[in-house]
Amino acid sequence: MRSPAAFRPPLRRRFGPWLWTTVTWVVTAVFFFPVLWMALTAFKTEADAYTTSPTVVFSPTLEQFRAVFAEGVGPYLGNSALAAGASTAVVLLLATPAAYALSIRPVRRWRDVLFFFLSTKMLPVVAAIIPVYLAARGLGALDSIGTLIVLYTAMNLPVAVWMLRSFFLEIPREVLEAARVDGATTRQEVMWVLLPMVAPGLAATALICVIFSWNEFFLALNLTSVRSATMPVFLVGFITSEGLYWARLAAAATLACLPVLLMGWLAQRQLARGLSMGAVK
């Protein structure tokens, strides 16, 4: 494959890769910058944050985080964690058998059922919010974490079913057949063969569900008020501050984003799959 001695790649070939790498890094910096700036500002004093020439060098302080906790952000974070965690647990409990019945031992019209799940995601939440609100009011379930858990479960269930099904389909058929030949009952097959094999899939699905419910705002805004308001509702108080509390806002926003950022970074290999309901890997 050796070219004549005088062969040298054209300039474009040699510098092209470096050019594109530079472009990539510049774009990456632009996209990431707002997140970075938010995190930096959280460690500033209001005086450092509210300046017309951005302060890059400053002595970091935890003052803002202390202030946010003094304002009572704790219960909001707790409510968010409870709503996200509990709804995800219920989702997995409901979605795993459903995904099983749509993949390993499929029901007769599994295709229709699968598309029913998908179609509920196409229903805008505004189309259901009024009856849901009235029902919650009638049952005395306004401003209750339980209501959010029930609704977040419904919100994430279709995603989880589709995603888990795609993991179930990856289990080689031979493994299941071997288990059956060895005389495993359905229960044994599920407990000792299937569940261990989809464990990474269950974890990835759980992360996606936690991310979506942690970030949910519309239902939390309309169905909670004082006792069970979640983190995004806490941030509503900053809308009209006109920058007066920018550093404090940055601290609260950083607290609100940090858990999901960490989980998303950890789960990034599975992120595309989760976001596409298992359609791409």
């Binding site: 029913f116 196409m122 359609a279 890997k281």
Partner: protein
Amino acid sequence: MAVGALPPAGPTATAGPLPARRPPRRAGWRRRWPLAPALLWLVVLTQLPFVFTVLFSFQSRNLLRPGAERWVGLANYANVFTDTVFRAALLTEIELTVLAVAIAMALGTALALLLDRRFPGRGVARTLLISPFLVMPAVAGLLWKTAMFDPVFGLVNVAASWAGVQGTDFTSRFPVASVVTVLVWQWTPFMMLIVLAGLRSQPADTLEAARVDGAGPWATFRWITLPYLRRYIELGVLLGVIHLVNTFDVIYMMTQGGPGTRTTNLPYYIYQRAFLGFDVGQSSALGVVTVAGTLVAAALALRLLFTAFTGVRAGDR
């Protein structure tokens, strides 16, 4: 449906359902019961409320006047279609969704191509790039409104002042562009991930064959990669549309639908009518119209893309 059409999710994937020997009736039920709880949960919490929304949409019903409900036939719908704010909200809805999805997809595809090369720190770049999508949408709205677009100390204004432009109040002077910027910032990483997954799954031998046949990078992209990516792009657009027609958080945090009603989209308008105006009948009719619109939009998005891509294919021959 695009989602079902992708190979990994389709019925032909690795394991596939076990051969469907027609099960006897009892075995049929044994197969069905694992589905029951999930289906019941969804029917009760999504379909049932929607049925009530449809019922309410034929009623005059206001939370401030309990006990005064009465059936009014199509009056709420008549009001919807003569309501100028609704028409404006519908246009805003289309404007926001189309702009955000189109720009995010174009940028996302470009970024995916950039990330599909080997270069130092690729993993780090990818991690940083997905971050905007993970930021809580409510935070994204506040963050851009405060840190980026603030007329006094917003960083976009700082950058603009280097160019000699001072103190622009972006969110009130360019409200739609401001909201679209935030949506694009959040959704570009999503599109990037979907397209990147497509690029990764591209068979290497096809690309190799194209190279051997003397195709340059551009020709390879235009005639091999892009057609291959088609269904990934379709999937990204479809999922983007489904999510972005529900845009609420960013608008609520950033512009509150204003100035005036300039950035009021359908979800925000329904929210206002229902939870600030307490007009259940009217907002239910709006909700029903929105659902119909969403279904049409999702179908249309698919159809348009399909035509666009078949156009490309026709030029090929």
